[in-house]
Symmetry: none
Subunit: 148 residues, 2 copies
């Protein structure tokens, strides 16, 4: 996003030069004020549109939607299943955080450990679950009742 502002400033600088040139070229010597005005109007309109488009990259409208959710048991992780697979508590923790859609970096920050640590944990976790990807690990963990 900072790049855009920079580019905008640069283009602005170039424009000043161009406009200064056109000023003496068309205005002073031929006095064609209409061309000058049109030029400025056109370029700035285009520039404005572009800026506006760039600026609205993150414009979102919040829509609150009520969603029915199955009420009932608050879910308890299957401890015996966890033990059976030889998954350590820490690995379970990582699995839960993976399931919420966090990246390794974010998990590392949340648990105050290094990203490498998270990676070894998840690596061993995937191995124990027989998963090749984190999405698969989540899927398996879900069917195994390790996570809700």
């Amino acid at each position: 996003m900072k790049r855009h502002v920079l580019i905008y400033g640069l283009i602005g600088g170039v424009l000043i030069v161009v406009l200064k040139w056109t000023e003496y070229r068309f205005l002073v010597f031929e006095h064609s004020i209409e061309i000058y005005g049109g030029l400025i109007a056109g370029t700035f309109a285009v520039l404005g549109i572009w800026l506006g488009l760039k600026l609205t990259g993150t414009r979102e409208r919040i829509v609150v939607k009520e969603v029915p959710v199955p009420a009932g048991e608050p879910f308890v992780p299957d401890e015996s299943m966890r033990e059976g697979l030889g998954i350590t508590p820490r690995e379970m923790e990582i699995l839960g955080l993976i399931a919420t859609g966090l990246s390794n970096r974010e998990i590392a920050d949340r648990l105050f450990v290094s990203e490498n640590t998270v990676k070894t944990h998840s690596s061993r976790l995937f191995d124990k679950l027989g998963a090749k990807r984190r999405t698969q690990a989540v899927q398996i963990g879900k069917t195994a009742r390790l996570i809700p």
Copy 2:
């Protein structure tokens, strides 16, 4: 969407008249070319930004509010939610396959399309869901009742 362009043109026409007026009012009699140019530049930049803002469709960001409901139903994907987010059927299909833990390559093979196609589908899907990762997309899709 076309209305905006029309309005833009109309305003442009009005502006030309106004500018013509200011030209004789301020420019010819006082020769303040800088003010004239600045005026045009400013107005058109603002106009352009406004147009750009109008042109970009507002993106909807779902905020799910969970409401407890008697559990038991075999799950039906929330069509209104899908439409509301502007997610296409094909993208839904990809979301479902992602949720099962498949890689892009595997999804591509299953749907008989190229991996690139799957990537663009998932890319747009993540954009619409406001997800940065596939695991997050799955999580969001789940809470939005798009997938079981």
